[in-house]
Amino acid sequence: MMDRYTRLQLVGIYAALAVFLTFILLPFFEMFMASLRPLEHLFRAPYQFWSDDFSFDAYRKMWVTVPLLGRYIWNSIYISFAVTGLTMVFVIPAAYAFARLDFPFKNATLGMFLSVNMFTGAVLLIPLYRVMRTMGLLNTYWAMIVPGVAFLIPTGIWLLRSYLEKIPRELEEAAFVDGASRIYTLRRVVLPLAVPGLIVVGVAVFIGAYAQQYLFAITFNQTRELQPLPAGLNEFIGYQSVNWNEMMAAALVGVLPVMVIFLFLQKYLVAGLTAGAVKE
């Protein structure tokens, strides 16, 4: 009953949502329209919102103009999965230690992780380049994976730690009383309980990895075959002209696989974030 809205309130809420979502979705709408527009249309004045020669040609031609497009789309996803997997390997044990155990320099170490949030790749690019070169990682997938992992570890620890703190300790105690080792308790008792939290953190890390591969890719990698989508899209910029319509089509098609994954995961995401907040 408390949640009942008057008709006027409902209209207001939907109107406000419409404005909000228009802002959020406008660039996608524009990219879609641009992908349908024939190239010779671009500089036609006055501006035409719609015309009869709009077509889906760009969606066919883009694979010819940039033959490696499929590879770029795959690279983006591959790098993100690799970053996510590796990040979780570092994050899970560390987050557990911060959530449950006492050890010397705990606060200092946690502070160090959190202060990493103050940097972005762009600040450390020069020495980072040298590190990558020394380790022989330039122009490999690792050049894009390793810095991605480093910058996502702190966020992962922060998110997972607060989730783990909300899991009741009683079960761990019970396992201890039964004589289970620490590692056994972590693997068999804590982790299964933390699955919803792990999904949320994993998804958040994946998004971070997927969203921010551009800078590392253009700086640390010159191998065309390994470029992720955002960097690969530059190939639609030719010597003479820019194939704008194909670039837009490629961008939309390129993010489609991940969008579909999210359609399925979004329930867990919002629910998981909420679960983290509800307990206690």
Binding site: M2, F119, I126, S181
Partner: protein, 306 residues
């Protein structure tokens, strides 16, 4: 805080001491961060005292810093960066709060709306920026195009070609990129607020607005405050958006500290001077975060730690 006993420190069932076990768990992550972030950071400090470039490097003391202190242009960049951060973060926070509140409303279709906010967050930042690049175009962008059609403006407006409009255009795009994620975090926090509180207030005849102001906001304050800090740091360091839209132009109109640093170091190969700028960023953000954490602690005390 709950008063559960600290099992780890009081019982010694396992052979391995707690501290040792904890350090084994934490060590890989610590080592990784030391090599990939801490060491480059130390290296940046060292480079900032040299004139390192493609040819080599010699120690120059505080010369790079002295130069920055003297440069009016650099002072302008600092002011512009803080203005950029303040404006963008304020706009984002307002929008995120409104967005989260709307998405939290118990209305038909709320599931769908929650999905529709996500796209800017889950796609690569660089790709979203390409969309905005097009939107801001005077000849074929929908904003200028439609404005011309309905007679709002006479000719095409190139939003990114003028100093002021380019700056505010970049702010809008930054708001667009940053809003969805925090909106969802705030939404999650709002859903975590106990319904009993609302029901009690409702029974007492409290209006919706009153409930929002006196229950929702105080309850989610800790989340708002920590999200605002993260958002501020990310905005301060926001690189890709400005780089793709304007590369810091026109005539330096959108050059923030991070863009200036990148241009100096990577664009002009002046590694030493670039490193000095990077150090300035680190120092400014450290001061800002410390001041902020100080306020955060006070806020947490006021609203009770959660």
């Amino acid at each position: 805080m709950s008063a559960t006993p600290n099992i780890g420190s009081k019982r010694k069932f396992s052979a391995m001491p707690e501290a040792t076990f904890a350090w084994i768990l934490v060590a890989p992550a610590v080592l990784f961060i030391l090599v990939i972030i801490a060491w480059p950071l130390v290296e940046t400090f060292r480079l900032s005292f040299t004139d390192a470039n493609l040819g080599g490097e010699t120690y120059v003391g505080f010369e790079n810093y002295a130069e920055l202190l003297d440069k009016q242009k650099f002072h302008d960049t600092i002011i512009r960066t803080f203005y950029w951060m303040g404006l963008s973060v304020a706009l984002k926070l307002v929008l995120e709060l409104i967005g989260a509140t709307l998405l939290n409303a118990a209305i038909p279709g709320k599931g769908l709306f929650r999905v529709l906010v996500m796209p800017p967050w889950v796609i690569p930042v660089a790709i979203g920026c390409i969309g905005w690049l097009w939107l801001y175009n005077g000849y074929f962008g929908i904003i200028s195009g439609v404005a011309q059609r309905i007679g709002l403006i006479d000719g095409p407006i190139e939003f990114l070609a003028h100093k002021t409009s380019a700056f505010y255009s970049a702010v809008v795009t930054d708001v667009w990129v940053g809003t969805p994620m925090v909106t969802l975090f705030l939404l999650a926090a709002m859903q975590g607020v106990s319904r009993d509180l609302y029901e009690a207030a409702w029974v007492d005849g409290a209006s919706r607005w009153y409930r929002f102001r006196r229950i929702t906001i105080p309850q989610i304050m800790p989340v708002i405050v920590s999200m605002a800090l993260l958002s501020a740091i990310w905005t301060f360091n926001s690189f890709e958006i400005i780089w793709i839209l304007t590369q810091g132009g026109p005539r330096g109109g959108t050059t923030t500290l991070i863009i200036d640093t990148y241009k100096t170091a990577i664009g002009n190969y002046k590694f030493g001077e670039g490193a000095a700028r990077a150090v300035v960023i680190v120092i400014l953000l450290a001061i800002f975060s410390t001041a902020y954490m100080f306020i955060l602690n006070k806020v947490n005390k006021k609203y009770g730690s959660k």
